[in-house]
Amino acid sequence: MLLIYCPYCEEERSELEFRQAGDAHIARPRNMTEMSDADFEAFFFLRDNVKGLTFERWRHLNGCGRFFNAARDTVSDKFLTTYKAGLPRPDISALRPAASSPVGTAPVETYEATEADAK
């Protein structure tokens, strides 16, 4: 169960209070009726489905009710940051968490480990 920081409540709360709401920063076009079928497909159906850093929307459904954005790593499921709806994508390079390793030996390649390593 994830722990999610609601940028409106300014509090970390359990995932049970939240509902994921798909990709962030996909604005509904103003000129809907003028879009081509291909553009509509891209807007409504096609997704980057990123392996790694993704920007997504969550709603604090059983809380303040607000939609907000999050930057999350889909490999580790770690949140890098959450931010209010309407704000631009934050600069993520400053936010990457570093893993600590008290033992200096090389990691063993398990399938799962490969998963986690792949970019």
Binding site: M1, L2, E15, L16, R19, Q20, G22, D37, A38, F40, E41, A42, F45, L46, R47, D48, N49, V50, K51, T54, E56, R72, T74, V75, S76, D77, Y111, E112, T114, E115, A116, A118
Partner: protein
């Protein structure tokens, strides 16, 4: 390939099983193949097998990032059924179901297809309407699916609680008797062995890092961690990772990848004779031939490539299982695990050509791809060999999201796969 049989087993038993040969080999990759399949799961290995067997194309490499059968083939709850609503879906899933019956003999590998019946529980009037719609459509499509009363359902599956005092009492069930399970590893291994026997190269620990294109845009081959490998035709059959691979060819997909968890109980003596699914309370259960209760959970709500998920998904699933089968409350969870499923907007798969000449994709099976393995592999091989879809998979295009011609099992049925 040395034939498997009871006589071969007996002969080997007399000499300490020293004579068995490797079921598949691990060759070094060639510089070029006629066809490259990315992903050595059941669908990918099966595609190679049918390309070799039915289309005479044997110069094939199946590239696998990890170990063959290690993706969703080896992580699913092995439910097999074909009682889908739409003609298109019924067509492909029943093609597969017909192939399951006889697959062991075809592959000379016992995949343990067990037609123990898949029973889908109805809990309310809406469920009943939807199930009846399926049953009637299935009948007219020549697919078995029958309505059971609660009493008949309990007779078929004695541990089922049919009391009216349950929180969501059942008011009937739809039963497909030809549905059931199969041994997932055996499916991957059986296809691998049979494909390798026909000359297919299965190359494990080989991760594709790029898809090469000719100046005219067509596919030229792939880059891998073991070097460049050329081919005019490349089939992507990589389940959860489809988006990542297709992005290498510049194709955005209508897919989202989710974690899907499952679990098994400790093994017990036979107690559960069939497969039971309930979409209303979200539960899927059968008993393996080792005695474990095999239980499928739902997806987590967020996209992820982590192959893990939250404990709350597991507990909710068990809530539902024990509502239906209260006698299992003292059973114990022995192991839980996760896979990555890619899900399309209409919950139907994509088996199709792509905008890139020579690039084909088989994906979007969501939570229910295992059941389709032989049928999917069979028609996908046809698609690659002929550069044109088989009539069974012709509707499962990538373009349907543009035109709106969806095969919306989810919307129409509200039944999970």
């Amino acid at each position: 390939m040395r034939k498997y049989s009871v006589f071969a087993v007996a002969r080997e038993a007399m000499r300490g099983h020293r004579g068995w040969e490797a079921q598949w080999t691990s060759p070094e990759p060639r510089k070029a193949y006629d066809v490259i399949i990315i992903g050595a799961g059941g669908h990918g290995l099966g595609t190679a097998y049918y390309l070799a067997k039915e289309h005479g194309i044997t110069n094939i490499a199946v590239l696998e990032k990890g170990w063959l059968g290690g993706g969703n083939t080896g992580r699913n709850t092995t439910i097999i059924r074909s009682n889908y609503l739409y003609d298109e879906s019924a067509g492909i899933y029943d093609h597969a179901l017909k192939m399951w019956d006889g697959l062991s003999q075809d592959l000379n590998y016992n995949v343990m297809y067990s037609a123990r019946g898949v029973m889908m529980l109805s809990h309310n009037i809406h469920d009943q309407q939807v199930f009846k719609r399926h049953i009637h459509a299935n009948r007219l499509n020549g697919i078995d699916n029958e309505w059971l009363t609660p009493e008949q359902a309990q007779e078929f599956c004695p541990p089922l609680d049919i009391s009216r005092s349950a929180r969501y009492p059942i008011n009937g069930a739809a039963l497909q008797r030809r549905g059931g399970t199969a041994r997932h590893d055996a499916v991957a291994w059986g296809y691998a062995r049979a494909a390798a026997d026909r000359g297919v190269h299965i190359i494990q620990n080989c991760e594709v890092t790029g898809i090469r294109r000719n100046p005219d845009g067509s596919v030229a081959g792939v880059d891998t961690n073991r070097g460049q490998i050329n081919a005019k035709k490349v089939g992507v059959v990589a389940a959860g990772h489809t988006s990542v691979l297709m992005e290498m060819a510049g194709v955005r997909m209508p897919l989202v990848s989710y974690p899907l968890q499952a679990l098994v109980s400790e093994p017990v003596k036979p107690i559960f004779p069939c497969v039971v699914m309930s979409n209303t309370v979200h539960a899927y259960i059968s008993q393996s031939d080792k005695g474990e209760l095999v239980i499928g959970a739902g997806t987590d709500q967020y996209s992820s490539y982590s192959q893990t998920g939250g404990l709350q998904i597991i507990t909710h699933t068990l809530d539902a299982i024990c509502e239906l089968f209260p006698i299992f409350r003292r059973m114990k969870m022995m192991r839980s695990w996760g896979g990555i499923v890619d899900v399309t907007p209409d919950r139907s798969p994509i088996l199709a050509k792509t905008p890139v000449q020579g690039l084909y994709v088989n994906c979007g099976w969501g939570t229910g791809g295992f059941k389709a393995t032989p049928g999917s592999a069979n028609v996908f091989a046809h698609t690659i060999a002929n550069d044109a879809p088989h009539k069974i998979n012709a509707p499962f295009t990538l373009e349907r999201f543009r035109s709106g011609r969806l095969i919306d099992e989810a919307a129409a049925a509200a039944v999970a796969h």
